[in-house]
Symmetry: C2
Subunit: 193 residues, 2 copies
Amino acid sequence: MDNHVAPVPLEKAYRLINHGPTVLVSARHGGVDNVMAAAWACALDFDPPKLTVILDKQTLTRGLIERSGHFVIQVPTAAQLQLTYEVGNRSRANVPDKLERAGVQWFGVDGHDVPLVAGCSAWLACRLMPEPHMQDTYDLFVGEVVGAWADTRVFANGHWNYEHADPAWRSLHYIAGGQFYAIGASLKADPLK
Amino acid sequence: MDNHVAPVPLEKAYRLINHGPTVLVSARHGGVDNVMAAAWACALDFDPPKLTVILDKQTLTRGLIERSGHFVIQVPTAAQLQLTYEVGNRSRANVPDKLERAGVQWFGVDGHDVPLVAGCSAWLACRLMPEPHMQDTYDLFVGEVVGAWADTRVFANGHWNYEHADPAWRSLHYIAGGQFYAIGASLKADPLK
């Protein structure tokens, strides 16, 4: 594991996706590792942390998650703009070398049998909480976060440091047609009076 | 209705929240209008457009939605930073003049009996799709978007124009403790080869 990757306390894991970034969803089953992009992922609870993610029935990653019961939600960076777009718009079903073409590199974490994408800013290892009706009707999957890590160059002490890190670390927020926004300036509200 | 507020075609409504902004959730029932902030709202489907939002059992707005079956998801702006923080951190149950203190002003749209918060950048009028198990277990509510509008000064022709609009129009992305990020720079991926 990279020297800069550090565990995040589970009760603060929601902060890794609270700002609504587009994420990468990865999973492993039967000797196959895959990853896709998803703009529709969202925190669901604080402690224990949970999240939702929408996974189209046609994606190979969904099948890996249904069979293994585990997945990883990770936060890609502006430096991974092209990787994110490519893994979100090609399927291994049609493009067998999708991962190589996009430049995906994996790493692992002891105690978690899931593939993590190198170079991201944060990772949330999740256990699928089966909700068959929501999965079938809405493609909505619920995960309980069982492990969380972040790159200390952009997230430390429970806080993002986008404003002090290199802009290449900024999160990506997809709109449509290959167009994203990076996260921007920090704004602080006044305390309640 | 403000001159700058224009309808958004329903098949493009998902783009109004695809970048994961913190939203305001408003509803009306029995002569009461209320609004709260929610960081956990997410697109769920394209056409017909649907979305999810997490609503804590203690919020007054949740009760209005359960009773009326309708609500509005709207995208507040950087100019509404303090308003957003205040309506997310005070309840009318304890602070009866919460809306006046936060400076909330309403407007309406013909054909939709729901209150819209003036000054936002986009509004999605939703019909509650009852999912009792998800509501009870996870506080997760599903809405079908039945009307969508945006301020043409920042969203036009199906696209956000944050990069050309005044920074006061930028969306807010909440982290914790009163700290938000504004949306930032536009980034465009290369077409697939």
